[in-house]
């Protein structure tokens, strides 16, 4: 039923329809509303026999999810940012053990400096963990992806992370068509574990694997992810057949047919980008957009197919590898090897910096004229940076940069050194 609802609430309602059996999570902004809502539903008995387990940390949350999943339960959790880092070891274990846990990642920056706002640094930090990572453009897609995620995870015995932009999506109230229980039940069969801790048929899960077999086990995990590249489109098509909605899949193209420039991005910024692209199209520029839904596994072939006819590709991403450049851009460049496409990297929206349509229009205007460099930081305040560089040059004890920059901007009254 189409409902005007907060994104977090839509996720909670959809997770509930997936009949989770164990939910364990530790609250952290901007994930909190999701977990609060699921917790209330469990307490009210709506999800019986689901158990909500209070834990003392994110590390415990993922560890409980691992135990629950190994015992054959459909397990769900959610986190963000520092919480994800705190559970990092268990995140790798969940994937290494091949346990089909579904986790919502309410994307948020990672400190220091401490920052609770949105970017994709947290998702990028676990890029290589072995989890499937799907990025939602809207709250509708975020909700729909959770149903697909359980299906995908359990078919392949791989954990799936649904990435949705913290605050921008989680705290936005907009129309979401919530699914029916009957639809979800028909689409998502009961969990049939590939491996299970069963007293009647004892096995051990989590063997120590030495050099004689570690590489093979890892390669098998890679094969499962490659398998996901085939399953994700099928699962999305079946979802479309059941709902009429194009949620999920690997990549999505928008107005790219004749494009000289294609912008690539992930998550909710795609909406603002599409608005800006429409405006540049009205000005006669041939520009389009490709949204990456499946970041891991990375759909290199589909990306190449979607982009290869464009002379220029602009990758706009909310994270970067410090000392190198774009993370998504690196993958895109690899996928485009030999095509002659020029790839431009744009880092934007770090730590919640709004990505405005006007900034995007200016960016696309420059792109159309071939004026973009290899790596650009959108809306970077160069003067603030230069003043801090000057302070650092002026004396050895220039003090902490974060505090200096805040003081420079007049947003803090902290007194101390470095003035």
């Amino acid at each position: 039923m189409l409902t005007q609802i907060e994104g977090s609430r839509a996720i909670a309602e959809t997770v509930a329809l997936c009949r989770p059996e164990v939910v364990c999570a530790y609250p952290i902004s901007p994930q909190t509303h999701i977990i609060e809502a699921v917790g209330v539903m469990v307490k009210e008995g709506r999800l019986a026999p689901c158990e909500f387990i209070n834990v003392e940390s994110e590390f415990a949350a993922m560890s409980v999810a691992i135990g629950a999943s190994a015992a054959g339960a459909r397990a769900y959790t959610a986190t963000a940012s520092q919480g994800l880092l705190y559970m990092m070891e268990a995140v790798y274990n969940a994937a290494g053990l091949g346990l089909p846990i579904v986790m919502t990642l309410a994307n948020r920056a990672i400190g220091a400096p401490i920052n609770i706002w949105n970017d994709h640094s947290d998702a990028m930090a676990v890029r290589d963990s072995g989890w499937i990572q799907l990025f939602a453009e809207t709250n509708q897609e975020a909700a729909d992806l959770h149903v697909q995620a359980f299906r995908l995870a359990e078919e392949l015995s791989v954990p799936v992370m649904v990435c949705m932009d913290g605050f921008i999506l989680t705290h936005a109230v907009e129309g979401v068509d919530l699914l029916d229980q009957s639809m979800v039940d028909a689409y998502l069969p009961p969990y049939e574990p590939r491996q299970i801790l069963d007293p009647d048929n004892p096995v051990s899960i989590g063997a120590m694997v030495g050099p004689e077999a570690f590489q093979e086990v890892r390669y098998l995990a890679h094969l499962r992810q490659l398998d996901a590249l085939h399953r994700i489109p099928v699962i999305a098509e079946e979802f479309f057949a059941a709902t009429g909605r194009h949620s999920g899949g690997l990549v999505h193209s928008y107005r790219t047919e004749d494009a000289d420039t294609i912008v690539v991005a992930m998550g909710s910024v795609l909406g603002t980008i599409k608005d800006a692209v429409d405006i540049r199209r009205d000005s006669g520029e041939r520009i389009g957009v490709v949204g990456i839904t499946s970041f891991r596994p990375f759909p290199s072939l589909q990306v190449r197919e979607a982009l290869r006819h464009a002379p220029q590709v602009v990758v706009l991403e909310k994270a970067f590898s410090i000392g190198h450049g774009g993370v998504l851009a690196t993958d895109i460049s690899m996928a485009l090897q030999g095509t002659g496409c020029v790839v431009r990297e744009v880092v934007a929206g770090l730590g919640g910096r709004p990505i405005t349509r006007l900034s995007l229009e200016k960016l696309f205007y420059k792109a159309a004229r071939g004026e973009l460099g290899e790596l650009l930081f959108l809306d970077l305040d160069v003067e603030v940076v230069d003043r801090e560089l000057a302070r650092m040059k002026a004396g050895r004890r220039s003090g902490p940069s974060a505090e200096n920059v805040l003081r420079d901007l007049g947003t803090t009254r902290v007194e101390g050194q470095g003035r």
Binding site: Q4, E6, I116, F167, A172, V173, E174, G271, P354, T356
Partner: protein
């Protein structure tokens, strides 16, 4: 697209106001998007929320920087926040106050925006009378409906009742109705000043 920016302080229901407004628009068959300015909100700190209303899919995720209407829940923000930044030249201003624009030192708005688009409403007093608590957000949405005619009072009242269960919902809906009738335009303010 019609874009609204709501200014207030933590605890005044600024975020709830945007959400209720979006639900009211949704109930009238329109597309709507409401979201808060994301920060570490605490009681008393300046808070901003946004609402977009359109007849087409709303794709943008940027903050509302060029609003068609600004709602000010707390007049003490006037000297603290750039309340009217980016407001459309034909935009609407709704301020929660029992004072006049002139008394607030905002007479200059008279030159910047259409006179009938500038209104005050004693929403806190109305809320105290009807709800018993100084929470002006529901009342202001009634005033907003009267001022902009983007939504009906009935839709606002239904959304309020959906959000606040039972008697609290009824009282807030009554506050919205009272505020709907209590908006004072700057034009009226001037007319009253002339007759004084």
């Amino acid at each position: 697209m019609f874009q609204v920016r709501i200014h207030g302080r933590g605890g005044q229901g600024v975020v709830t106001a945007a959400e209720i407004l979006s639900v009211a628009a949704f109930d009238e068959g329109r597309q709507a998007q409401a979201f808060p300015s994301f920060g570490s909100e605490r009681t008393g700190a300046p808070v901003v929320s946004y609402c977009r209303i359109d007849d087409r899919e709303i794709r943008t995720r940027e903050p509302v920087m060029a609003p068609d209407a600004v709602i000010v829940q707390d007049v003490t923000l006037i000297n603290q926040v750039d309340l009217f930044s980016g407001l459309s030249p034909v935009g609407f201003v709704l301020i929660n106050t029992s004072r006049t624009f002139a008394e607030l030192g905002l007479a200059e708005l008279y030159d910047r925006f259409p006179r009938p688009h500038l209104v005050t409403c004693p929403a806190t007093e109305i809320a105290l009378e009807h709800v018993g608590r100084p929470l002006p957000n529901a009342a202001l949405l009634g005033a907003f409906a009267s001022l902009t005619q983007q939504i009906t009072l009935e839709a606002v009242q239904k959304a309020i009742r959906d959000h606040f269960a039972g008697a609290v919902g009824e009282r807030n809906a009554a506050a919205a109705a009272a505020a709907f009738d209590a908006v004072v335009t700057l034009e009226e303010e001037f007319a009253r000043a002339d007759t004084d």
